[in-house]
């Protein structure tokens, strides 16, 4: 362990990082990869199992066509070439969460190869090469009891849940990404973010990192400028977008400090620790490093019909990037404003709100303003607070003069706390703008009578003083009057 500390700026000035990412995406197919068991998350342990996904003696796999289709679509969306012929392979190693003690995966014949994904960093495009996209089966989950760390070592008992065993898993491997310098951590994060968007746009996975339906391993190496690439480490347990960035940064710092001391980087698997933000050597989960891959003899080769692939290609949805560009232009947003929308995760919400008849400005104002504030305060998902149609309705009430901006905020509060639609909340809480000019007139007259000095000033031409009377009217109507209307009434009475 190095005792020296290096600043990130120093580290990236002296060394050039090369990163690479391996991302696993659990597909949202109805059934598992090689059997008919359901894939739902959160069922009672070992209830979604059968002889095949338990690897019982004699059982055989049958490939899930929907999973193959989803993988091809991911490959196409990542600009890959789709193999005309490929095979599954067995990856052999012993671990109790693997029912057969081998994983059906793909090895030297992946389904999709040689693509790319562009990511935008500070307005600049970085092209990340995609080495391969392949299909495999997920393992079960082990729970180790009695140990200090929750790891198998030191545990007194281990429980295995095979519900996840056999869920289709797509592995997306980038080519090494050199030349990003100090921005390497940002590039890593931006890549995973963009990849998530792409996969989500295809509707093939819910890509939730916190539930493990999207998991990421980050490879990092450093080299001095002009020298060959260094030895890489592989960091696992990177379970959020923020962690992706932190893990690369931390690994750059660690390796730089070690290299500065004249140390040597060991090719190893490391674990990222969310709490401390550093990486530590992981005990490799497999005991063997030689997986003895060989073609899976229980499955026939996969030869996707080119016509089928062409159909899938033609039916691909608009890419997330094209969609963003289109919406940004349509809404007339600056790059900075667009970034705020994306950071808030409000793109689709605003798009739907606009589609419901709200102006882009108004839609953005509600989602990035009041609603984002509540989301941040309550750590809630923005989309769970209100629906785009509710926001559109709220804005329409303002546009129709039934709510003032201020009242609308109160109404929105009611909507967020589940009191109903904006119109219902407005009615139930009696928040509608007092637009009855008779009632307002009486309130104005009262206010003028109560403030004779001010009224005199206004009459003398000091129009600005009218604010005091307007304020009094607003107070009297508990804010339910439109301030602009009140002001007009006041001025009409005093100067008309």
């Amino acid at each position: 362990m190095s005792t020296m500390t290096v600043s990130y700026e120093d580290a990236t000035a002296r060394y050039e990082p090369v990163i690479g990412l391996e991302t696993h995406v659990e597909l949202g197919t109805r059934t598992k990869m090689f059997c008919g068991c359901p894939t739902e998350f959160g069922a009672e342990p070992n209830t979604h199992v059968c002889p095949v996904c338990l690897g019982l003696p004699g059982s055989l796999p049958v490939a899930n066509r929907a999973a193959i289709e989803a993988t091809i679509r991911i490959g196409l969306a990542l600009n890959c070439t789709i193999a005309s012929w490929c095979r599954f392979a067995r990856k052999n190693y012993f671990y109790p969460d693997m029912p057969k003690n081998f994983q059906i995966s793909q090895y030297d014949e992946p389904l999709c190869v040689d693509g790319w994904l562009d990511v935008l960093i500070d307005g600049q495009t970085v092209r990340v090469g995609i080495e391969r996209v392949h299909l495999e089966e997920d393992t079960g989950k082990t729970l180790h009891l009695g140990g200090a760390t929750g790891r198998i070592h030191g545990a007194t008992e281990s429980l295995v849940d095979y519900n996840r065993a056999g869920i289709p898993l797509v592995e997306i491997v980038t080519k090494p990404v050199p030349g990003t310098g100090a921005r390497a951590p940002q590039v890593a994060r931006a890549y995973v973010t963009e990849l998530r968007e792409v996969v989500r746009s295809l509707g093939v996975s819910d890509v939730r990192m916190e539930q493990g339906s999207m998991r990421c391993d980050v490879n990092t190496s450093l080299n001095r400028p002009g020298e060959p690439w260094g030895t890489r480490t592989e960091t696992k347990n990177v379970n959020s977008l923020r962690s992706v960035e932190r893990a690369v940064r931390s690994e750059i710092l660690r390796q730089a400090a070690l290299l500065d001391e004249g140390g040597r980087i060991v090719q190893e698997t490391r674990h990222f620790h969310e709490d401390t933000g550093d990486t530590r050597p992981g005990r490799s989960k497999e005991t063997a490093t030689d997986y003895r891959y060989f073609p899976e003899p229980d499955l026939v080769p996969l030869a996707p019909d080119p016509a089928w692939v062409a159909t899938l290609r033609a039916a691909l949805p608009e890419s997330p990037r094209a969609r963003r560009d289109r919406l940004q232009a349509a809404w007339g947003l600056s790059d900075h404003d667009m970034q705020s929308v994306l950071n808030a995760g409000a793109l689709a919400l605003i798009e739907t709100t606009v589609a419901a008849g709200t102006t882009p400005e108004a839609a953005r104002k509600w989602w990035l303003g009041e609603l984002s504030r509540v989301a941040n305060e309550t750590a809630a998902d923005l989309g769970t607070l209100a629906t785009p149609s509710q926001v559109a309705e709220l804005q329409k009430l303002i546009d129709d003069g039934k709510l003032t901006d201020k009242l609308a905020r109160t109404v929105l509060e009611g909507v967020v706390s589940g009191e109903g639609s904006p119109a219902e909340v407005m009615a139930a809480r009696g928040l509608e703008v007092v637009s009855d000019t008779g009632a307002l007139g009486a309130a104005v007259d009262e206010a003028i009578a109560a403030n004779p000095d001010v009224a005199a000033k206004v009459r003398d031409g000091k129009v600005a003083a009218a604010g005091v009377i307007v304020g009094a009217v607003m107070k009297a109507t508990r804010g339910q009057a439109d301030a602009k209307t009140v002001r007009e009434l006041v001025l009409a009475r005093l100067t008309g």
Binding site: V62, N101, F102, R292
Partner: protein, 491 residues
């Protein structure tokens, strides 16, 4: 009763269908025979008398109701212990699976049940089907009814012995390198390996996935063909199952039984005609071929130059696949678990379980296969063996351009004395010298009785192109008309 057990399956089925005898009577006759002789033969690892009688009673009831029954309905069958049977122990002849009761039926067993066959029990075998003598069963060897001091062949020695001991009229085997045919040859019974993919492997505990083929064992060619027709056909649960109609094997067996082989070209494999086989075996096979020629077949000598590399290629491919297939036996989910005393690591428990649960031959093959698949050795061993496999397939393809079937001895030697080959694995492996090429190619092959040598049965092997299983049945049935199956001495 005693005449019932000597009848072929086709005849029993006809008697049951005609109501002259009930399935329960037939089943009970065989269960009685098992009770009387199996202590000496040890063909069975598990006898399911209760299940068998219930199944038989069910067939009888359905018959009484006038339901349409299949051509083998009510006939008992013995099933090699490598096929899963729901709720009935399935050990594969291994300690590591002792006590395991599968929660599901294999496709073959499902089809047997659906066709009204009565499953008597599970037959003995070399552990995980690795062996040629049944001596590698963890539960003790099976003894050849022809001479109880000799082996009944393997790995399916139990199935073959049950037929020749008249414990069962039909049996199911599995053939990875000869495990149906070689026991058939040394017990004087008929053993057929269908086209790979012609019979489902779902529920067949895997030894070598690209070679394993379940198939029928019987005392007559027609019985084997009838059983073949029951178990064969596409199974969506097995990705390697062929989605095509079952070749007309029963019609072919009936056609062959007319004794006319005119127009059939039989290829005599030059490479399997001389060295490596006992003179008595070669002489009996020569006579068999001459008999075929007398029936009108046209003999053609063909060369299959790569057949001589089949044995070494097989002993890389099969162990490689088995090293992976048998990895699941680790004590975590089912079967034996050794050393789980709270002080040992998971890895130690897995290791101790496998150490205690597997026998020496299984361990040997796991070691060979693990080595052959290792980084740095893969190309030289597994990769090279796959190339040989391709060359052997080309030999077959070329040969079948000249001839309809190929003939050769089934195995180089007659039943050998128990214990005589266990000390030298290679001597044991030689038993499969002539059967392995068909497994590597995937085509069907049958062993049919072809006289005696030194008073012990010899088998003639007939090999056919993939999905032309009917051809071998025709030739086999024709041979049977002139070279009847030898009758074993009484037990």
């Amino acid at each position: 009763m005693s005449e019932l057990i000597h009848k072929p399956a086709a005849e029993l089925a006809a008697l049951i269908a005609a109501g002259e005898v009930s399935s329960v009577e037939v089943t009970r006759a065989h269960l009685d025979r098992i009770a009387a002789v199996d202590q000496r033969v040890h063909a069975f690892l598990h006898v399911d008398a209760e299940g068998a009688l219930a199944a038989a009673a069910d067939v009888d009831a359905r018959r009484a109701d006038g339901a349409a029954l299949g051509p083998l309905a009510g006939v008992p069958v013995a099933v090699k212990d490598v096929l899963t049977t729901k709720g009935v122990p399935t050990t594969c002849g291994s300690k590591i699976l002792e006590g395991w009761r599968p929660p599901y039926d294999s496709t073959i067993v499902t089809r047997l049940r659906a066709a009204g066959l009565v499953i008597l029990g599970k037959t003995n075998m070399d552990e995980f089907a690795m062996g040629s003598s049944t001596e590698y069963s963890a539960f003790g060897p099976t003894f050849n009814p022809w001479d109880l001091t000799r082996i009944p062949g393997g790995s399916g020695g139990g199935s073959a012995a049950s037929l020749v001991a008249y414990e069962a009229p039909l049996a199911i085997g599995s053939d990875t390198g000869g495990s149906i045919r070689q026991p058939g040859a040394v017990t004087g019974t008929v053993g057929a390996k269908p086209t790979y993919g012609g019979t489902s492997r779902y529920g067949l505990v895997a030894f070598s996935s690209s070679l394993d083929t379940p198939g029928p064992c019987a005392r007559t060619v027609l019985d084997a063909a009838l059983l073949h027709a029951v178990i064969a056909g596409h199974d969506p649960a097995d990705s390697t199952s062929i989605p095509a109609p079952v070749p007309p094997v029963v019609a072919a067996a009936r056609q062959g039984a007319t004794g006319d082989l005119s127009g059939v070209r039989i290829g005599v494999v030059r490479e399997f005609g001389g060295e490596g086989a006992e003179p008595g075996v070669l002489a009996a096979v020569r006579e068999g071929i001459e008999a075929l020629v007398k029936l009108g077949a046209e003999p053609v000598e063909v060369s299959c130059p790569h057949f001589t590399y089949a044995l070494p290629a097989y002993y890389l491919i099969a162990p490689s696949e088995c090293s992976s297939n048998l990895a699941r036996f680790d004590g975590v989910r089912y079967g034996l678990r050794v050393g789980d005393d709270g002080t040992r690591s998971l890895e130690e428990v897995m290791s101790l379980t496998r150490e205690a649960g597997f026998g020496p031959e299984v361990k040997r093959r796991i070691m060979i296969g693990t080595y052959a698949l290792s980084a740095g050795y893969y190309d030289a061993y597994y990769g090279q063996a796959q190339k040989v496999r391709t060359l052997i397939t080309r030999d077959f393809t070329a040969a079948f351009e000249q001839v309809d079937v190929l003939v050769a001895p089934t195995t180089p030697f007659v039943a050998f004395p128990i214990g005589s080959r266990t000390s030298d694995p290679y001597q044991m492996y030689l038993a499969d010298l002539f059967t392995i090429p068909s497994n590597l190619y995937g085509g069907p092959a049958v062993s049919v009785p072809c006289g005696l040598s030194e008073g012990l049965p010899v088998g003639l092997q007939i090999m056919a192109p993939t999905m032309a299983d009917d051809r071998m049945y025709r030739v086999a049935a024709a041979l049977e008309t002139v070279v009847p199956a030898p009758v074993p001495p009484g037990l």
